[in-house]
Amino acid sequence: MNERDSHLLRELAQEVERVARGDFSPVRLSTVPSPEVAALADEISMLSDSLAETREFIFALSQGRLDVDPPPRNRLIAPFKQLQANLRHLTWQTQQIAAGDLNQRVDFMGEFSVAFNSLIQSLLEKRLAEEKLRYLSNHDPLTDLYNRGYFTEELERVERGRRFPVSIMMADLDGLKGVNDTLGHAAGDRLIRQAAQLIRHAVRGDDVVARMGGDEFAVILPNTDADTASKVCDRIRKGEAAFNLESSSYVIGISIGIDTVDRGGSLTEALKRADENMYREKFARKKKQESAGRPDS
């Protein structure tokens, strides 16, 4: 090696040191190099340029700016690209979680995955607890039907809606007090549950069936005219008869009143009229039973 080349190699060593310090300005030599040294200088320049072009990307990544794309075809930063892809996916997953998808799980970020997944798990538990609470606040615990509070809200909602004609049904269990007194409250509860099931089976899935309290039930039947409502009533009657044929301990008797309104009608008024109709029926049934029980004169 001649004197000039060894001088240039010393210069190149300094250039490499400069690049290693993070200064990526172009490689400069004091004199014209031999072809061999020039080739080495070119390679050092290329390495320096490759490092320079990664700088913006890695800097952006370190600041969490994931929209800055990596320099194409740069092989020095493969693990950082992998990290960027992971963080982009994590961002997407977090967006899905924010939109309500709690099935997302992370399995590629070490200890962070564990922490993240336990966060999702606690969100999931919170959601389940809220759902349970909402269910309890809307439902009657004995029959699993809706409760009076939910029924009243729903009555207002349906009144504002467009699913007219709407029929309202009131139903009252006959003889609950007697069952409670003679067979005990557990039997009374059983009777209430069986009556609830009977009514539930006679209506459609999206009709609102509620236990209003004690032995009283109410049903909102949207898109139901008076004819169809009386068919619902028939179905309840049929269920009642079938039950009484089987049952040995007590019989179910349900008094029913219905009222139907067209668009613009008040459902609260309809509920009142249904209630009156129900009492009229109850009275009539009582009369009939009494006259059936009285010996012919």
């Binding site: 990596p70 690209k81 992998q82 892809a85 992971n86 997407w92 099935n103 997302q104």
Partner: protein, 179 residues
């Protein structure tokens, strides 16, 4: 049934046969090398017989047919999109195709950016300056088309083979109902 002349593809999932019964000792999986041997020799001959673009197009169309049948026979199509995507992810893992992840999803505009790492087709290949996963492009398009009923344009924008470690695909519905 495999070799009659035809103008449109006829392949169906059941043409894969009863693999369990057919390979009681060797089982239903094989090595990745054998899969790549098949794909890259086929590609080689297709390029020699036709040209690189035609070869890519043929591989893409075959991939689409595969994706279509895969979606029809393996995936749960009645889930909402995130559920469907989670099922796709897990099945691609089960079948050893790759680890798929979503980076962007626009359900209204039907545009997606997804990545596949440890890709069956390309991870670990010697580096060229080109993307090679046309078969995957077709596969993803086939899967999305069956699920959404819309034709999709899928392009690989980064590939292991082009030096990116992870394959990245953009998928966009084109304004055409699926045939």
């Amino acid at each position: 049934m495999f070799k009659e002349d035809r103008d449109t593809p006829r392949f169906q999932w059941k043409d894969l046969g009863d693999i369990e019964a057919g390979r009681p000792n060797l089982g239903s999986t094989t090595s990745v090398a054998v899969y790549r041997l098949m794909q890259y020799t086929l590609r080689d001959i297709l390029i020699a017989r036709y040209d690189p673009d035609t070869a890519s197009e043929i591989l893409r169309e075959a991939g689409k047919l595969a994706g279509t049948e895969f979606c029809r026979n393996i995936l749960k199509k009645d889930l909402d999109f995130n559920g469907f995507f989670a099922d796709l992810q897990s099945q691609l893992k089960v079948f050893g195709v790759g680890i798929m992840r979503m980076e962007k999803s626009d359900l209204a505009g039907l545009e997606f950016v997804m990545t596949v790492s440890e890709d069956l087709d390309c991870s670990g290949l010697p580096l060229f300056e080109e993307t090679v996963c046309e078969y995957d492009e077709g596969f993803i398009a086939g899967v999305l088309t069956v699920y959404t009923g819309k034709e999709f344009l899928v392009r690989e924008i980064d590939c292991w083979a082009s030096g990116e470690r992870t394959c990245r695909f953009t998928a966009r519905a084109i304004d055409r109902e699926a045939a």
